[in-house]
């Protein structure tokens, strides 16, 4: 059985701050990380591999050359193979174009049984690429997976899918696409041996360009993307608020409530 995991290297958006004067993003020192939901996707694939030695796990990603570091991390966690698509021709792709690139890559990688992806990446938060890859590859999908169980035949799968007010239990067969959320599991750490192997000369990490994956170049990149950025801006801060300075907590509470009442909000 071969499992493909879709992953993305993302800036750790929780470390990002806005420069209060220039209103621009301060990105100095913001680390690049394996997208959190994707780590859950990889962990679930590795758990299947733990129980079934014949299973192989391949990680695929699209990004700049340095996304290779993230693939090394995935291999150090236990993945067997990593594939990076890096090409200026695919830069600026929206989700539709990105799914064209990744589905072409997966098709090029050869037969597989299952694709695991994170629900969404923390830099874009769209949750669109997983379902759109599934559509291009004509696979059934379940998103927001919180529990996963696979039968001994490695074909019949039972999952729980999170809803806002509960969950669904769903049966699905391979081949299929599942997208993981953090409730699914706790991703393992890299192992020392894994790190050594992943950094070694025998580590199976491939870097491909658009030509390698034989993708139709009119369906990828900025030009081909159906959506474009019209304008972008930083959100305007609100007017300055009022700091309540009063003698003691009781007085503070009183001043606050007086003000809230004056504003007709309570």
């Amino acid at each position: 059985m071969r499992i493909i995991v879709c992953a993305k290297q993302v800036p750790d958006t929780s470390e990002v701050r806005i420069d209060p004067v220039k209103k621009t993003i301060i990105r100095d020192g913001v680390p690049s990380i394996l997208n959190p939901d994707d780590a859950n996707a990889l962990e679930e694939a590795l758990k299947i591999k733990d129980n079934n030695p014949d299973v192989t796990v391949s990680v695929v990603t699209m990004g700049p050359p340095q996304a290779k570091d993230m693939l090394i991390e995935c291999l150090a966690m236990g993945a067997d193979e990593g594939v990076l698509i890096s090409d200026r021709a695919v830069g600026g792709s929206d989700t539709w174009a990105t799914s064209n690139v990744l589905s072409a890559t997966i098709a090029k990688m050869g037969p597989f049984d299952m694709i695991f992806a994170g629900r969404q990446a923390i830099d874009g938060d769209t949750a669109q690429v997983g379902p759109q890859i599934a559509e291009k590859l004509d696979l059934p999908q379940v998103t927001y997976v919180t529990e996963f169980e696979i039968a001994k035949n490695l074909k019949d799968i039972k999952v729980k899918r999170q809803l806002e007010d509960g969950y669904e239990e769903i049966e699905i067969q391979t081949p299929c696409m599942l997208t993981a959320i953090k409730e699914l599991n706790s991703p393992r750490y890299m192992s020392i041996g894994g790190i050594v192997d992943a950094c070694g000369a025998d580590a199976d990490i491939k870097v491909w360009n658009a030509k390698d994956i034989e993708v139709d170049l009119t369906t990828v990149g900025l030009e081909a993307s159906p959506t474009n950025v019209y304008r972008s801006f930083t959100p305007a801060p609100k007017g300055k608020g009022m700091m309540i300075e009063a003698d003691g907590e009781k007085e503070q509470a009183k001043v606050l409530l007086t003000n809230l009442k004056a504003k007709h909000v309570i």
Binding site: R17, P64, G166, E169, I170, V229, S232, G241, M243, Q252
Partner: protein, 426 residues
């Protein structure tokens, strides 16, 4: 569309590099060069003091006039309309009237035996209801719903389709968009069609320089504004070349119309074709969890706790506070990650977006993701020990102090607010 540096004007000042959110600009000697990370967001254009960066737009015009009217995916579960469907009907109604007098807003109802919901759709603003009913559509399945909605879109050709960004809408919409080969913008918080309305919005709420926009521009393409980059950046996305234009919209951000019990509309029963073999997943069970129902989206008052609580027990005080003020308990991501409280309470970029009348942020420092999810609250009250906490920059009222001392006093004085106010007027 692409970003171009005009080499003869570039002075190598690197202002664009600082402004770029995507590290998409490098220096080649003394000239800025756009690299493959560019998303054509345009942040660099206004940052350039020498007008050396411009956006090139392809002019090839595709005939999109065959597409007309706005569709709202009126999500229902178990025969009940979701709240976000009502909000989107209100928003769709507003947008349709801005496009033209003869543009309609149409609700798309998918399910089994749900014709009773049509009236509710009219009452919240729908001119027309497309009813897609079949036994196999009783519950949501990606395969079944995608097929019948794609068939209907191909037949009736709507100009715009909007979905609630629910766990179901976010599963369905990308699949529909990929099958139709059209664009989809996720989790929008603002939609506009008229350029003049967009300019008004930007002038009131953003730092965007709107001088390059023309209020008389006849363009009525959908301008879809959403937070990006963890809420640090707002981006307005357009879908100029393909139809329909599609968005998912965050629940709780659009306003529903006042219900009009007299409203009627036109019902179109769509002939759906869906076979058992089309649906490749099998739903065994749908479980509503017995856990405490928190509806942060609908809450008028939210009392949120953050890392400053210090311990999971801190939520007992927050709960007491919420009970007193008839509010709902919210949380920052840190507390959820620490396992202090269930994810369903999380406010912020990866949790729920809220806009209550009053938001009490207790011991919340105000990470940008959190701010993205609550800063459109009418009134924000922040209580925090650290006077430099970023939460105070968005707060209408700030109290620097120990929340364990301040909150009990607010609870105690809450019922006296009227008297306190009257006393202050004398």
């Amino acid at each position: 569309m692409a970003i171009k540096v005009l080499k003869d004007l570039c002075r190598g000042c690197k202002m664009c590099i600082k402004a770029c959110p995507f590290q998409a600009i490098d220096m080649d000697g003394k000239i800025a060069v756009i690299n493959e990370k560019c998303t054509a967001c345009g942040a660099c254009i206004s940052a350039c003091p020498f007008k050396a960066i411009e956006k090139t737009v392809d002019e090839d015009v595709v005939d999109l006039s065959a597409y007309k009217h706005i569709w709202v995916y009126a999500e229902q579960r178990h025969g009940e309309l979701m709240g976000v469907a009502r909000e989107l009907l209100g928003e769709g109604h507003r947008l349709s009237r801005e496009i033209s007098d003869d543009t309609q807003v149409c609700a798309v109802l998918v399910g089994n035996k749900i014709d009773h919901l049509a009236k509710e759709c009219y009452e919240y603003g729908a001119d027309k209801v497309y009813l897609l009913e079949d036994e196999k559509l009783e519950n949501f399945t990606t395969d079944g719903y995608t097929k019948v909605i794609v068939d209907a879109i191909n037949e009736y050709k709507p100009e715009i389709v909007i979905y609630g960004a629910t766990h179901i809408g976010r599963d369905l919409a990308p699949r529909v968009a990929a099958r139709l080969n059209t664009g989809l913008t996720a989790d929008c918080t603002k939609l506009d069609v008229k350029v003049s309305s967009y300019i008004d919005y930007c002038n009131k709420n953003t730092t965007l320089d709107t001088s390059s926009l023309d209020a008389n521009d006849p363009d009525t393409g959908l301008k879809q504004t959403r937070p990006a980059f963890g809420g640090n950046l707002m981006a307005t996305i357009i879908c100029p070349k393909t139809r329909p234009q599609m968005s998912t919209v965050r629940p709780g951000v659009m306003s529903k119309r006042e219900r009009n019990p007299q409203a009627t509309g036109e019902l179109v029963k769509v002939d759906v074709k869906v076979a058992d073999s089309d649906i490749r997943t099998k739903i065994i069970n749908i479980v509503k969890e017995a856990k405490e129902r928190v509806s942060l989206t609908d809450a008028e008052i939210i009392c949120s706790g953050g890392r400053g609580l210090g311990a999971p027990e801190g939520f007992e005080l927050i709960k007491k506070f919420a009970d007193k003020v008839d509010g709902v308990v919210g949380s920052s991501r840190a507390c959820v990650d620490n396992g202090w409280i269930d994810h369903s309470h999380q406010v912020g970029q990866t949790g729920t977006t809220v806009k209550p009348r009053i938001y009490f942020a207790c011991g919340i420092s105000g990470a940008i993701q959190h701010l993205a999810g609550m800063q459109s609250s009418d009134i924000i009250v922040a209580i925090n020990k650290d006077p430099d906490a970023p939460i105070f920059s968005v707060a209408d009222y700030g109290i620097v102090g120990d929340l364990y001392k301040v909150i009990p006093q607010i609870i105690e004085e809450w019922d006296n607010a009227e008297a306190l106010f009257e006393a202050s007027q004398k």
